[in-house]
Amino acid sequence: MESEAPVDTKTASAAAAQPAAKENTAGQNNQPVKQMHLPGQLPGQKPTPEQQNRKPILEIKHVTKQFETFTAVNDVDLTLYQGEIFALLGSSGCGKSTLLRMLAGFETPTSGSILLDGRELIGVPPYKRPVNMMFQSYALFPYMTVKQNIAFGLKQSKLPKAQIEERVDKMLRLVHMEEYVDRKPFQLSGGQRQRVALARSLAKEPRVLLLDEPMGALDKKLREQMRLELVDIINSVGVTCLMVTHDQEEAMTMADRIAIMDKGEFLQIGGPREIYENPNCRFCAEFIGSVNIFDCHLITSNATQSLIACSDFKNPIELTHDIDLADGMPLTIALRPEKIYISHLPPQEQTNWCEGVVENIAYLGDISIYYVRLTDGRIVSATLPNVDRFKEGLPTWDDHVYLSWDPESCIALTF
């Protein structure tokens, strides 16, 4: 697998914040597969595992988990490929943790099968699975030192003492915790605990590493810092990794592929860019990032152009592709705030713009979010990056502004 990949797919801000990490990752690149631009691929998007001819390692087939009356996971299919980092993303109660726990062996699926390297995992107790988990709370043994914690799993497999010693040292170097061998977990900071937990779960060289909300116990600043570091460590080991998170930024920064889960089902599986730029349903569009959703209906559609009427403003929306829907049928248009231009002058075109009054401005430092009230009362958000420190002529409160966008920016959602 290519190790620049996690950086390539990052959002611009995350990559900019971590230039050192980027170089570091590139330096550690010892994997043979280079990123190649295959036909039909968005620029900057990684090739899919199938395109790289990677070997499937974990296959989840028609897995369902029912708790009495509640279906936590509903007929889910998923294939994990060798060396990838895969994120299950969803809000709490969507079934992502249940799925992870079924892989670890703490829950038994009601039906379906889980194959690891082609062998059935269901019925194998957790202590016999070649799979290790990093727990959300880390679950470090409080009465053991860092060294004993990391050695715990190795001792269970009855390795010779010298080999355990060697492996523990290697793990300590990997997570840069050599100085803390004899500390107990309560003597460590949150970030250090996480490193120890990671080292412990990697010590047995699992076939698949499971991460349960890996950043859940860290504060925000540390979280951002640890994301790429964790990816670095995982990539340098080359382990296949399945993580569970509710934090979309975390999933997009760390994962090669993401599955959006809701009510026990996968709604969309794809790379971070694909999921952000090309959501396949309204839930996915709203779940990742912020988005303006417009209820519309189709006026007309042909191979190169579709015209859509929106009830919130008078100008039609124009798309440069066809929509497989009968004329007059309702559909939803999703538009990301950063893809909207704000100006004081009316655009020349007949399509793809609307007008309103600036209701509020949220200045976040790097960007400002403009909340523009359209003539019919609907509020649309649009973001402007604050490129200049003191720029004149920016729209301000109560200004009458025009919002416009490129035809390619709109996402037409039919469900």
Binding site: N132, L140, Y143, F152, K184, F186, Q187, V358
Partner: protein, 327 residues
């Protein structure tokens, strides 16, 4: 402009507003009320523990006399001279008794208490686990089942065991009817009956501390141990036992200490040959009317208990300090 501006101001104000932190614990100056509150239990302990203890200790340093009370006074005035006579022969005779009666009964008592504690632990741990891991509604029922027997008089329950275990009691009847045994087994007047009685009576004192320790257990550690390849039995010893150490110790003490001086249970269920220290105390006090020797036996028993407990606490505290120093 105005509405927009004020809205923005609110935004800014909210962003910069400091969260007011109410001090959780204000500095507290002790008043006479606080002292009065502590005073009550201290007076109670003073009157009903320390004072009787000192009286017993005083008696243990005298010799028997045919008098009321039946022991020599510690302090005497004769011809204007105050004499304080401390007799230590009671203590020496405990250890130099030619038959070794006292030493033997101490050892026997220690053995019975230790094994009873172990049995309580073995039976109590799964019980406490069942309590801790059950749903709240079920838990209340189980809780009642553990506690309810102690609402009945202790002696009544021991008598109930006597009728259950006697030669023509329930156990023998059932076993004979099933054809497992041909003639009744002698259960009463054996050590077995003593263990049954003690374990039965003291089980709740083991279960409750274990239960409260198990409620605080971090269950993710069990999963972590499983995940790292630890088999169930080993997982129990490597995750649950260290985490419930305090409960195990508290429960064991609550069982061991009263079991050591137990009198009623061995007296009613035990045999003539198993003479425990409780029986010795009774005999010395009431049959031989040798109050000083009986007091010496009692004080020695207290020392046997107190010295290991104090040592244990000292080690525990040192370990705790070591942990705290690291913080």
């Amino acid at each position: 402009m105005s509405t927009g501006f004020s809205a923005n101001m609110t935004f800014i104000r909210r962003a910069f507003q400091q969260r007011r932190k109410a001090p959780l614990l204000t500095r507290h100056n002790n008043t006479w009320r606080d002292y009065a509150l502590i005073f009550v239990p201290y007076v109670w302990m003073l009157l009903f523990f320390l004072l009787p203890f000192l009286i017993i200790f005083k008696i243990s340093l005298s010799v028997t006399e045919i008098a009321i009370p039946p022991y020599s006074p510690l302090v005497t005035f004769e011809e204007g001279a105050m004499q304080i006579i401390l007799h230590l022969e009671n203590y020496t005779s405990i250890f130099t008794d030619p038959d070794g009666t006292y030493i033997r009964s101490y050892l026997k008592s220690l053995q019975v208490a230790a094994f009873s504690t172990l049995f309580c632990l073995i039976i109590g741990y799964p019980l406490a686990w069942a309590l801790a891991s059950s749903r709240p509604a079920v838990r209340n029922v189980l809780f009642m089942l553990v506690i309810m027997p102690s609402w009945t008089s202790f002696v009544v329950r021991i008598y109930a065991w006597m009728t259950i275990m006697k030669r023509d009691g329930m156990i023998n009847d059932v076993l004979m009817a099933l054809g497992i045994i041909d003639s009744p087994i002698q259960m009463l007047q054996t050590d077995f009956a003593v263990y049954v009685g003690i374990v039965y009576c003291y089980l709740p004192y083991m279960v409750l501390p274990l239960f409260s320790a198990l409620m605080k257990v971090d269950y993710s550690l069990i999963e972590a141990a499983y995940d790292l390849g630890c088999r169930p039995v080993k997982t129990f010893f490597s995750t649950l036992v260290p985490q419930t150490k305090s409960g195990i110790i508290a429960g064991s003490m609550l069982v061991f200490i009263p079991a050591l001086g137990e009198y009623v249970i061995p007296e009613l269920l035990g045999g003539k040959d198993s003479i425990l220290i409780g029986r010795i105390l009774w005999q010395e006090f009431f049959n031989n009317r040798d109050w000083p020797l009986a007091s010496a036996v009692a004080i020695t028993m207290l020392l046997i208990l107190v010295i290991p407990i104090m040592l244990f606490y000292k080690i525990e505290r040192r370990e705790q300090e070591k942990l705290n120093a690291g913080k």
